[in-house]
């Protein structure tokens, strides 16, 4: 009896299912062969060794191509390299590559997920000459706007910083480009959360979404940028160039005093407003080239919301209240100037 049971058990063993347990590795089958291997060393048979070091130009384009690399550090380092390459170039020497070539690689970095890359990007942008930037505002702005409404607060802040740099470098172009005025204002309001009456009240329990960034005081930075932006858009004209023009032209007699109006404009894209090749634009995407246009739109669409928001910010007091006062000042001046002379 005993022996037969034993033999039976032995026989049974061949057909028993192995028990599987959660969290434990599956038992290897009996006939398992280990085929894994480890490489100990990599030998390079050929190396590309050159006698001459690569030229600074070729290095520059190499680093430019590395901007779309997968790793954060690589992107940041190559940006740093590009920054030094541009900053340290001799005065009056043109850029190693034109801005229009660099821009397609640079633009996606505005929305980059790494903080370091974005800070480095801002540093790099600051080294660019202002008049080179003016032509490419139209390309930059959509990315900046996308950054300003990004879910991640850090990206929002750095996008605002980039915007304030753009206003500083090419203020007139920023506010008068297609969609540059209305859409950007919308983005500002949305960053500040001032769109509706309810949401701008300090007591409202605004369920704000998203992680607040690691950099402190985002609101203050945004308010500062808003002040600059408003100043560029609807601030009273500084008058230096205009008045000098007027003075100059007033010395001429009648037909000649209007010559300036009949000349080709000196702006970068004089016929951009015709929008010959782009998508059809709506009210928001329209170009508002003169201060009067901008003021008119601003008054109807944004002034009430801005007033409301500023009021609540002032009431909150503290640093925020102080920052809001600078915006308030710009706004007051603009309103005082009115729609224009």
């Amino acid at each position: 009896m005993g022996s037969s049971a034993k033999r039976k058990k032995e026989k049974q063993k061949d057909f028993q299912k192995p028990k599987l347990k959660v969290g434990k590795a599956k038992a290897k089958p009996e006939n398992f062969t280990d085929t894994s291997f480890r490489a100990k060393a990599i030998t390079l048979n050929q190396q590309s060794l050159h006698v001459a070091a690569p030229t600074s130009n070729s290095q520059f384009s190499h680093f430019l191509s590395l901007l779309s690399s997968k790793s954060d550090t690589q992107r940041r380092d190559s940006l740093a390299h590009l920054t030094t390459a541009i900053a340290s170039r001799p005065v009056n020497q043109p850029l190693p590559q034109p801005v229009s070539v660099m821009l397609p690689n640079l633009l996606p970095l505005i929305l980059d997920s790494s903080n370091n890359v974005r800070t480095q990007l801002l540093k790099f942008l600051r080294t660019l000459p202002h008049n080179d930037v003016q032509d490419h505002v139209g390309q930059l702005l959509p990315y900046v706007r996308a950054g300003m409404t990004h879910l991640a607060a850090d990206i929002r802040v750095s996008a605002v910083e980039i915007l304030s740099w753009m206003v500083e470098a090419a203020g007139e172009n920023v506010v008068s480009s297609a969609g540059g005025w209305v859409k950007t204002m919308n983005c500002f309001l949305s960053v500040l959360g001032w769109h509706t009456e309810e949401s701008s009240r300090w007591s409202s329990n605004r369920a704000s979404f998203g992680k607040s960034g690691s950099k402190g005081k985002p609101m203050i930075k945004v308010l500062g940028a808003l002040a600059e932006f408003l100043d560029a858009g609807i601030g009273p004209p500084s008058g230096s160039s205009d008045s000098s023009d007027q003075e100059q032209s007033s010395t001429w007699t009648f037909p000649l005093c209007q010559t300036a109006h009949h000349m080709n404009t000196e702006s970068t894209a004089p016929y951009a407003y015709l929008n010959l090749f782009g998508q059809p634009r709506d009210e928001e995407g329209e170009m508002y080239e003169t201060r009067e246009d901008r003021y008119r739109v601003f008054q109807t669409r944004f002034l009430p919301a801005l007033d409301r928001g500023l009021k609540s910010a002032r009431e909150e007091g503290g640093e925020l209240g102080r920052a809001s006062s600078s915006v308030n000042k710009v706004l007051k001046e603009a309103v005082a100037y009115g729609p224009g002379p």
Binding site: M148, G179, V191, R206, F209, K211
Partner: protein, 750 residues
Amino acid sequence: MVKRKLGALEKVEADLPNLQHKIRRDPKSYIEDFRAQHYQYESHREIFMAAPTSATDTGIISLRDLIDFISHVADCYPDILKEFPQQLTDLLMQHHLVLEPELREKIVGSLVLLKKKDCIDSATLLHTLFPILISTPSKTLRALLFQKILSELRTANSKTTNHKLNRTIQTVLFNLVTSDRTSSKALWAIKITRELWKRQIWTDAKTVEIMKEASLSENEKVTSGGVRFFLGGDREREEMEDEDSDADVDVGRIRHQLGINKKTKKKARVAEKAMALHKKKEKKKGQPHPLNFSALHLLHDPQGFADNLFNKHLKTAKINQHNREHKLLVMQLVSRLVGLHQLHIMPLYSWFQKYLVPKEANVTSYLASLAQATHELVPPDVLEPLIQKIANEFVSEASAGEIASAGLNAIREICVRQPLAMNETLLQDLVMYKKSKDKGVMMASKGLLSLYRNVGADMLKKRDRGKEAAMGLRSGDREQKRFGQQENGGIEGLELLEQWKADERRKRREENGLDPDAEGGSDEEEADWDAWNVEDDEDSDDSGGWINVESDAEIDFSDSEDEGKDRPSKKAKQEAEAKNSEAKDAETQKESNEEAKKISNLATTRILTPADLAKLAELRAQAAVDSSMPKGRRAQLGDRHVDDGLTAEEIEGLASLSKGKQTREERIAHAREGKTDRSEHKSKEARRKERKEEQGKSTTNKEKARRKNFLMTLGKARSKNKRSLVETRAVLKAHHDRAKRGGKRGNVGN
């Protein structure tokens, strides 16, 4: 700014699905966040639109994610997203060629989602998707769009038929087919139409019109698509219906398992769903069957269509290697149409002439089509040369058995439809083949013989006519029908009813102890009928002004005799007597004649009561079932339903018999054919056990006892031996009590 306390969830790196979830719960509070994301989407769209071809990946969040997010919450902010559907549509319409596949699919999916949320209507969606379907070169996108369009049309028609949408889409498809007859784009129209026809969503004439236009296209693929639809679309539809009805839920089992298994919410939900499905199906079963016409019957102007098909595809083009299959299809369709609608296309018959040679490929298809294209209004002199040719080419001593039997079969099939096409000498020649050594030829020839015994016995030689036909000829009731002669209209199955009534009467008479075959029994019938008649007369007698409605005057709808017997009228008696004497006088021959006449007169002499009509329908159904039984399957060749086409296999028919002896393997395979797949032979008990196990049911107590481990029973068995008498008694008593009670826990009440 005062530092706000952050909730646990908000500390997480912000992601769109999280925001989407929050928005769905409370759209009002998160409107600012949504607005920000909408601006974000706008900016990304702007970036994309500036350079659609070189779209780069922009950071953590892509346009795809944003589109997905916005379309999921689209119903929460309708006023902010007024233009969103249009933007997606434009994006897809203008850039579908250059969009990356994932984004493209996302946009299609989002549009469908927007339709589901009622942000756009089905017509808009379909008008967006359809042009892309026919123009895109991407296979995956086409597959996706096709599936989406179909499901959209199905859901739109699921509750009630959406006539408006169907009409617009049908018009779009129709225009697609007719606008450019040379392009293969119309294939999509065919695919969609066929699918919807199969699912019985589109069953109207307009659908058929689309397919008709497709069949007349210049493009070969499109044409064969359309033709195939007419040849196979209806069968497909029937099969689909059968499949649908097959999938049934076992309600009893679900209910049982619900009682046994652990009760979870999910299981309850599943069970509820299954019950709802079952209830729906039951409800559907009770509803009247929707009347569906086959595509061939819904055609407008079949004559024009068949003419066009013939002239366009068959007459002019020569059949060569490349287009043979296509031409065969067209030929089958044309001949089906001709046979079904009894059309006249005279050139068709002469066209057949050159293909009726045994060495032609697929010649049996030609023969089948020719037979199919024959109907009783085709002039016999058109068919005669064709039959002659078949006889000459196929049927001879020299030709192989298969060929001869195929030829004979074809001739028989033609003659079933138009018996006048045969002449006497040829028929007598062909009938001689019944003596052939080849079994196939012999059977085919006998088939022809038995056909002509019925329809034209005088053309046969005297010794071939058989007894019935000879007697019929002598009495003169077996006259050959003349060309164009129509049968007098009758009611189908009337003779069955008559037969049944006679049987019933005989039974009753036997019960009453009367002679079952006596003719006098008819008086009851007459009386019954007259009783009703008299009652009617009474009513109409004083119907000059007002009709007197008697409150208790019931019209007898059943054919029970009792009431009729109560008041047999004088008139009825007189008539019955007259009939009686007449019947007695008549000879047997005459008697049978009269019987036959009476059968056909039943409808004119009697008003069929609703009960009669119900019985008639029942008998007809019974007869249909009987005729489909294997025994009587091929008994009557003329009995084929008009809608069924004739296939080449039927022409080949018994040709397999001509081949000679089968090999062993063939015989085994043939024997296997009829048997269902049963794995092995087992006892009933074993099979039952298997079934129970399959259903996850437990075994019986007996089985459990038998299977119990031996060692577990050992102890009890040992102790049983050592029991004292008293113990044994106690145990037995306990057992007896338990059995009385009905088990351990008892079985009283429940």
